[in-house]
Amino acid sequence: MSSILTHSPALVMALPLLAAFLTPVVGRFNRKILGWFISAILGLTLGITILMAIQILTNGSMIYVFGGGDAGLTLPSGYTVPIRIIFHIDGMGIFMGLITAVVSFLAAIYSLSFMQKESGLEKYYALLLLLATGMFGMEFTGDIFNFFVFLEIASISSVALIAFRSNFSGEPAEAGFKYMVVSSISALMVLFAIGLFYGQYDVLNMATIASVMQFTQLDKIALILLVTVLSMKAGSVPMHMWTPDAYSEAPAAITMVLVAASQASLYALFRVCFSLYNISLNTVTIGWIIIILGVLSMFIGVTMAIIQKDIKRLMAYHAISQTGYMLLGVGVGLAVLANPVALNSFGIKAMEGSIFHIMNHAMYKGLLFLTAGALFYRTGTRDLNKMGGLANNMFYTTIFFIIGAAAIAGIPPFNGFASKLMIYESVYKFNPLLSIIAMLVSILTLASFVKVFHSAFLGPKLEQYKKVQEVPKSMLFAMATLACIIVLFGLFPDVIVKNLVHPAVMALINQTNYTATILGGI
């Protein structure tokens, strides 16, 4: 038991990675158990992640050195740097890790029936596992080059998954191409920034770079590159155009994982701003840049969503708009980072709100995409104009959709309300206008989900959907789990904020703690 705990960072990576290469073999012998095999692997990963979370939240951050031994390594010349690959998991990392584990496990369960009729399933599952590996790696690693590698693993596997359904039409391939181009640009700019760091400080470990950070001109350039490309990967306006394409064309279960993948990029953006640079950067300027990106994303995302006709494109634009909330809250926290009074009075609350919103968003947006997938599974279309009256046939899906829509629109007592309220009230103290825009966006969100609800579920039974039934049990199970999480988080938000979100925010803000855990080992 204790050795599982000691090696849990490696296990969480190794299980999906090795299983991904085992998948074609299993698929060759028995196609039927393939889905169950993958679900079991991802369930095991979820279990280990939860164990690790308990360990980290009680005993502080966890360090795992690949190749064994101490974090430090002394060369014969007496040169001491943490040169090995180190996994450095603190409150924020494990917070994102939990989201990834839950979402990828439920995606596998949902795919059991959702993807049953597709061919090439072993490739699908192998790519799903690789995507999970890439996301875990991005969230757990303490080495910036290692981060680049996992970013590429995640984007390559997600591109292949987006283009997975291109047997019949060209649109998935087109979406995959667009996503590939933008994610290649982002990954290469990250690589260039890594080169800038390495050229100056001769180290790749993030904590070590943070401890010697001087904020020279080159560091500024690296910061600009990282902020731009990582916020692009998170899908912020005006670099958001790939998001609706990719989210709408991917299979529904994958879309849910893609939401979590773009949040992993968001996590990386926060990690760069807070742990790597912290107050050495010009916090007010960068904070305001992030706030403006956030406000643009919120507003343009939601106004574009209202006019959409494709249900998954509409939800994808909402994903952009919700990302805006996270950027807004954390941007406010960053803007007041150098001012301890303001930070304590509202900065920390704003950050708690938006970090809590990351988890809430992953859950309710995942649920909404799954209901969209359920509608597609039974009706074969994503066009809202062709739907109608489905509440008569699909009772549970309707209930789950209502829960998800209420949560995203910020209707109490669901979880979206709790995190949005935290953002409104703390951002109001920083700048009232921003808070008012955020509330307006929330109203427009409700309006556009009323549109979806009306056109897909309400109304009389349509002739062509007379024989539509409820979706299979495994899809219902995945949706029900997410719905339960949403309701529980909504009823007891204080438990989550106190035990999960607050440690995550503190891990971000407290840079000395971040560097000391690694450098203390040398």
Binding site: I224, T228, V229, M239, I289, I307, N385, P493
Partner: protein, 112 residues
């Protein structure tokens, strides 16, 4: 107290809210069950009044998605037209936006 979330300027307790909703809802249902003595079932009173026109059947009156919020988009036409024009779906523009935003942030950070 469990469920009490500090939100920066105030507090939020979902459980109290749910209890309140149940209480108010019960009161409303109680009032409604007392009934309205002017209401008579199966008369013209219960039918919708559409300026004297006959009622359209439910199958034909379903408003499809494109027509919902028509007035909203029509009123904001000058906002929507350029916005839709920006979403070209052309991959060259996607790369262009990234470079443009990068340049803007470069200038902003460089000046400050």
């Amino acid at each position: 107290m469990i469920g009490l979330l500090e939100t920066g300027s105030g507090y939020w307790n979902a459980i109290t809210w749910v209890i309140m909703v149940i209480a108010v809802g019960a009161a409303v249902i109680w009032l409604r069950n007392h009934g309205e003595d002017k209401y008579k079932k199966d008369t013209d009173q219960t039918k919708p009044f559409l300026s004297g026109n006959p009622e359209i059947s439910k199958e034909d009156s379903h408003v499809s998605a494109s027509h919902i919020y028509w007035g909203f988009t029509e009123a904001l036409k000058h906002y929507y037209q350029p916005l839709i024009k920006l979403h070209t779906g052309n991959i060259n523009d996607y790369s262009g936006w990234i470079v443009l935003v990068m340049a803007i942030i470069f200038i902003v950070v460089g000046v400050s």
